[in-house]
Amino acid sequence: MELKRKRLNRDEPYPVGTRVKIGYSGFENAEVVEDRGFLGPGGARVYRVMVVRKPRMYIEVLEEQLEAIENTSGLPPAGM
């Protein structure tokens, strides 16, 4: 279920603050808040992301579940 990533260098992790959506979910507006390292199955990278909604919700997902999206709000990332 790997989603296509909108980055040229796939080896670089998503920086904290990156706007993302989580594949196969209704969470289409989230933000990377922590790179948890290679804790996933087979050494997959895990991220802690904050789902932008009220109340705020945090979830840890695999890198392959994420797709970067444009920050169209004009606002800085919530964690910045």
Partner: protein, 189 residues
């Protein structure tokens, strides 16, 4: 083969803590002694040690959760990840033995580190004392220490607590290895 979390504890976190330990020893050996600076330095060591142990526990929890989730249908994945991520005590509270048990109980694994090693009970007590001092240091002495907690910090005392954290880390890793092996039907790492 240890978990990625334990590997991180043994290779990265231990290295960082050793540097702090060395710094404390150097401050302890100053001539003339600087007791106020030594106290500040040791309190810093306590905070770092507790934080790294908490970090290890969070890493192991995350590693186990993602392995568990990897064994279920893809369409359930985000829902399960949400459940595993919600309301974790290790995200907010101290890495106390009680908090560890509550969080890891979500896997349905029997968590009784005290009986796995002759030094288990002492290590759990040391962890409790470490957390008492963590709170005393971070809250600037607003709470008195509980009865039985050492009232003076020394480099050797914190080093003893560190050894207990190392033992608890290996026991926690072993417990989850056994538990996840039963759940998954094969070795998790």
């Amino acid at each position: 083969m240890p978990s990625a979390a334990l590997t991180g504890w043994q290779q990265d976190r231990a290295h960082r803590l050793s540097k702090i330990d060395l710094h404390c020893r150097e401050v302890d050996a100053l001539v003339p002694p600087d007791l106020a600076f030594l106290d500040e330095t040791l309190r810093g060591y306590v905070l770092h040690l507790s934080a790294h142990f908490q970090g290890f526990c969070r890493d192991l929890y995350s590693e186990c959760a993602q392995l568990w989730i990897d064994s279920i249908p893809t369409s359930y994945r985000v829902s399960a990840q949400s459940q595993f991520s919600t309301g974790l005590l290790l995200d907010r509270g101290n890495p106390s033995y009680e908090n560890l048990k509550r969080d890891f109980n979500r896997f349905g694994v029997r968590m009784d580190l005290q009986v796995l090693d002759a030094l288990g009970p002492k290590s759990v007590t040391d962890l409790s004392h470490l957390n008492e001092w963590r709170n005393k240091a971070s809250h600037q002495d607003t709470q008195p220490l509980r009865a039985g907690v050492p009232i003076h910090l020394t480099a050797n005392l914190v080093a003893t607590w560190r050894a207990s954290c190392e033992l608890l880390a290996s026991l926690l890793d072993r417990t989850m290895y056994d538990g996840m092996s039963l759940i998954l039907g094969n070795p998790p790492w």
